[in-house]
Subunit: 159 residues, 2 copies
Amino acid sequence: MPALPPSLDSFDLAILAILQRDNTTPQRLIGEAVNLSAPAVQRRIKRMEQTGVIAGNVAVIEPAAVGQPITIFVEVELESERAELIDAAKRQFSGTPEVQQCYYVTGEADFILIITVADMGAYEALTRKLFFDSNNVRKFRTFVAMDRVKVGLTVPLPG
Amino acid sequence: MPALPPSLDSFDLAILAILQRDNTTPQRLIGEAVNLSAPAVQRRIKRMEQTGVIAGNVAVIEPAAVGQPITIFVEVELESERAELIDAAKRQFSGTPEVQQCYYVTGEADFILIITVADMGAYEALTRKLFFDSNNVRKFRTFVAMDRVKVGLTVPLPG
DNA sequence: TCCCTAGCGAAACAAACTTGCATTTGGGAG
DNA sequence: CTCCCAAATGCAAGTTTGTTTCGCTAGGGA
């Protein structure tokens, strides 16, 4: 639960820039980089975590190293866009582990999915489960990633 | 530089499952969860970082909290697919901070981009810079995200 | 059988995080 | 203009966590 409109100053932004690159950086080093004491840095981080500016702290795993070398994009178009069916789709996609990311979009498609699988057989099985067994998917277009050129959740920061 | 073929056992996978959800979890707690001592956990984490299984440790920032509330997908189709021009495109996309993710794909498009911007004006300016000023973009299709249903870099783990 | 490597746990150690407290700073209200 | 309050800081403990050391225990070859 984000608390309130958090207003970030240049210290906060500088701290975020460091943390979204490497959140194991000691507060002491962050402090030196932004000209603040370690406790001050720590209090700001804590506040940003509580207000939801920092949504999480995670290790990034190389998919290929854990047997999921294939990344696939799917544009999904639904038959019906009734709110109830949209929500059902959101829930199903969210609950599927292979669906790494899911966005509800405007334009010629309704959803865009980023999927991680071990091989094309696994993808084929997944399409059956997600799209053919659903009675609400009109069509879907598949793009297989040949190169994950740039991957991350890094956000451009002002300043 | 990934060292060598790292073979992960069930301990490693259990540790990864925890870290990709919250990498601030103390090693002591991880140890309790997987039935290992804290030093053993720490050695395994270190090894996976050195071999590239763990690609990074990052804080996830809420884009809306830092003035980048709009997420946009772009399918980019190039005029020419000469290797040299592909590489040039990869470099330009990678070097653009607003391009959060960039994938080189098969199918009806050559690239898929995920872009983060403050408003549609910023997106319009970015399209000019990335697509119109480039002489190698045949066309591009834009999808604006209305809902970031599921966002992350979480990978499904075997076991 | 012997040795050798890899991995473990317990404990000692070092580093980082966290908290309490006094101080400073920047605004309003009187 | 002065006073007072709220917010944020730095410093210095105190606590937790991370890291290293060490001796031990398998598990494989030679």
